[in-house]
């Protein structure tokens, strides 16, 4: 860490020079508060590492709010180095927030030092990079959107009040989302579910409120500029994706109906697959794989095609003259949550469905 020493202002009392100073990292968010004591001021039994209670009894580092009110002492580690106590907050400080370090002297005299974290350098605002499905035509029982942001985002349920569905009249569809946060680990992708209770047949929520999407209508998915990144910066501008709806899709994806365009032997041409419908973008990346004649996984690059209606695979090594297979995970979903195994709502009164075809054999040309 490239440390610099910043003494911002000495507030009250105390000797000159100040017994308090703050060593900070470049951005000022990681600090060490150093308090110098004179001989005999520190208890002789003080060990190199102080407990929080021992440390806070001697000196504190606290947040100062807009009204000038002090928070409780900030969590951190207190260490004694000679006649110094060095305090390092456990968590990063916040840009443009005010803090106060105070030595609590036994004679009632206190010395304080104010510290303001520098302003964060201006960076481009966060943006919506992609939304899947990319199609502008979705089934009326469409289940989920994947929203990709350019930066890690601020988690919290407020997000569900900042993303809206507008109908043809520009009015908000009320309560369309399942309010369960599903972010990727880096918090750059949100999986936004239309409330399944308004999609599932026979469930009371749908019966009372009706479905979120009606067939043959136009809607707009709107992401408000109030959506924040992890640092609290707002989205640069409003994002909108328009789409129209078809009838509900209550059919299973049928891999045996997919079209395979076969590559040439001894080349690295892609194996191309056409689904005949849009499938779930994220699951298409994970739930299709190529295996060789020994059932070993073939290494290569996967690309999900236009409108997520196709898929291609470029092998790392050229295709051999042997029998390969494309293996389909039975959990692969279409846009309405139907899988090769079962439709999203299974009608128990309907005739039993045939088992799905999940292995598609092929041989390069």
């Amino acid at each position: 860490m490239n440390a610099a020493i910043g003494i911002l202002s000495l507030l009250t009392l105390g000797a000159d020079p100040s017994p308090l100073r703050i060593e900070s990292s470049d951005d000022g968010r990681v600090v060490t508060v150093v308090a110098d004591f004179e001989e005999g001021q520190l208890p002789t039994q003080t060990f190199p590492r102080l407990t929080a209670r021992q440390g806070e009894a001697i000196f504190t580092f606290r947040l100062v709010d807009e009204m000038g009110k002090l928070g409780a002492p900030i969590f951190g580690d207190y260490r004694r180095v000679g006649s110094q106590i060095r305090f390092k907050p456990r968590y990063r400080l916040i840009p443009q927030y005010d803090y106060l370090a105070t030595i609590h002297a036994t004679d009632g005299q206190s010395v304080s030092l104010n510290y303001r974290v520098p302003k964060r350098p201006a960076l481009p605002p966060v943006s919506v990079e992609k939304v899947f499905p990319s199609s502008a035509v979705l089934p009326a029982n469409h289940l989920k959107f994947y929203i990709h942001f350019s930066k890690p985002m601020r988690e919290g349920r407020a997000i569900f009040d900042r993303i809206h569905l507008l109908n043809e009249d520009g009015r908000k569809v009320l309560d369309p989302w399942r309010r369960t946060e599903l972010w990727t680990e880096d918090a750059r992708r949100l999986t936004l579910w239309i409330h399944p209770g308004r999609i599932k047949t026979g469930v009371n929520l749908r019966e009372e409120l009706g479905p979120v999407l009606q067939p043959h209508r136009r809607y707009t998915l709107v992401i408000s500029p109030d959506v924040q990144d992890a640092d609290g910066q707002r989205l640069g501008r409003r994002f909108a994706k328009g789409f129209e709806t078809t009838l509900a899709d209550r059919k299973r994806p049928q891999p045996d109906q997919w079209q395979l365009h076969l590559p040439l032997i001894a080349t690295r041409q892609p194996l191309e697959v056409k689904f005949g419908e849009s499938l779930d973008q994220a699951l298409s990346q994970r739930f299709l794989e190529v295996r060789d004649s020994k059932r070993q996984l073939v290494a290569g690059r996967i690309d999900v095609g236009k409108l997520e209606a196709g898929w291609s695979f470029v092998p790392k090594a050229p295709w051999a003259n042997e029998a390969y297979r494309l293996a389909v995970n039975p959990l692969l979903e279409d846009l309405a949550g139907n899988t090769p195994n079962r439709v999203f709502d299974t009608d128990l009164t309907a005739a039993a469905q045939s088992p799905p075809v999940l292995i598609l054999p092929f041989r390069p040309r």
Binding site: I74, I94, W183, T184, H195, P196, A230, E333, D347
Partner: protein, 372 residues
């Protein structure tokens, strides 16, 4: 946001006493810093053993807190608890999210899972009887972890975890598929053991006709006629029970709906308690239809129902007892608890009181409320 108290019940109207000794939850621990990636839920097993549901890490982490004897309990409400916790981390109330709260039944101390929003650090805080907020440090602790695998898919969020007699049960779901799994983990646990984890996919049926997968939000174990059930609550769907012994590898478990609390609500916490010798269940929920059809002054409202309703085996599914017909309450066995309006998180503090995190006009408070 979801957590439950663990209660072992016998439906002959008498409570079974399950004696659990130290070492029955965890057999073999490792001491160090558990590799926790996220904290979705907190709960407690006996003897001060903390259960952490970590969805990003696809694991349950179990920590022996050593906090295993009774301590004085909080008496005075703490106003602006969110701002006070945030200040301890050097930020303001909008800089943190309180994800979950669980009371350690061995000591009466509440534990809070908190996420610092800017750098996404997850941590655990405690509040003592004087209202002092401390961090429960996650370094140098004795812990064991159990990895959860949902067949061919990954679990990305743990929706609840609970102790059930001699097992840990958990509900989890994937980020991308509509799959939902219940896990049953045999105790005592060994660190990194995987052999004793069973999972099953949960379904429910509506109108005796439509069968769908059903992600479970809250679960508690109950015991009925010498059989243990997992009782789960779902968003907008009924309270459903599943036999615990049906959780076998690869099983598909169909639940029985026993109570219909009404649509437009997301259950948050649920626990069982006794009042005048009679067992009840208390459940708080978030009403996402609050603006359209409010049930009270806050979208957070709480319902109390007789625990015996969970034992129903005939009037189930579409015949399950309903709290409302239209907008009108139709049974006195399921009642709204007005003194709990605004309760966002809650847990049982003792036989007479609950600890509640309550949303007020100007912030969040931590309060002790009498059980209704």
């Amino acid at each position: 946001m979801l957590q439950v108290r663990v209660v072992v019940l016998v439906f002959g109207m008498s409570l079974a006493t399950s004696m659990v000794h130290a070492g029955q939850v965890v057999k073999e621990t490792k001491t160090g810093t558990p590799p926790i990636k996220s904290i979705n839920v907190l709960s407690f097993a006996p003897e001060g053993v903390l259960l952490i549901g970590d969805g990003s890490g696809s694991q349950i982490v179990v920590i022996e807190t050593g906090d295993d004897s009774a301590r004085p309990k909080l008496k005075q409400p703490i106003a602006d608890i969110d701002a006070k916790m945030a200040a301890r981390l050097g930020t303001k109330s909008d800089g943190i999210e309180i994800i979950d709260m669980a009371v350690n039944p061995a000591s009466g101390t509440p534990y809070f899972a908190v996420r610092k929003q800017d750098d996404k650090r997850h941590l655990i805080l405690t509040v003592d009887a004087q209202g002092e907020i401390r961090e429960f440090a996650l370094n140098d602790v004795p812990y064991a972890r159990v990895r959860l695998k949902a067949g061919e898919d990954n679990i990305s969020r743990i929706t609840d975890v609970a102790w059930a007699e001699s097992k840990i049960i958990a509900a989890g779901r994937s980020n991308e598929t509509f799959a939902s799994k219940i896990f049953s983990i045999n105790a005592p646990l060994n660190h990194d053991s995987a052999g004793s984890v069973y999972s099953a996919e949960t379904y429910h049926v509506s109108h005796r006709r439509w069968e769908t997968k059903a992600p479970m939000s809250v679960l508690i174990p109950i015991r009925e006629n010498d059989k243990t059930y997992v009782v789960g609550a779902f968003s907008c769907t009924p309270v459903v029970k599943y036999p615990l012994d049906s959780l076998k590898p690869g099983a598909q478990v169909k639940g029985t709906s026993v109570i219909e609390l009404g649509s437009g609500n997301r259950p948050i916490d649920m626990f069982v308690y006794k009042k005048n010798g009679k067992p009840f269940v208390l459940a708080n929920t978030f009403r996402f239809h609050h603006k359209r059809r409010p049930f009270g002054p806050s979208p957070y409202w709480t319902v109390k129902f007789e625990q015996g309703l969970l034992g129903e085996n005939k009037a189930v599914n579409e015949k399950a007892i309903r709290r409302l017909e239209g907008n009108k309450p139709v049974t006195d066995k399921i009642t709204m608890v007005e003194t709990f309006h605004g309760v966002m998180q809650m847990d049982k503090l003792d036989d007479f009181q609950a600890l509640a995190l309550r949303q007020n006009d100007d912030g969040m408070s931590l309060e002790v409320l009498a059980l209704p």
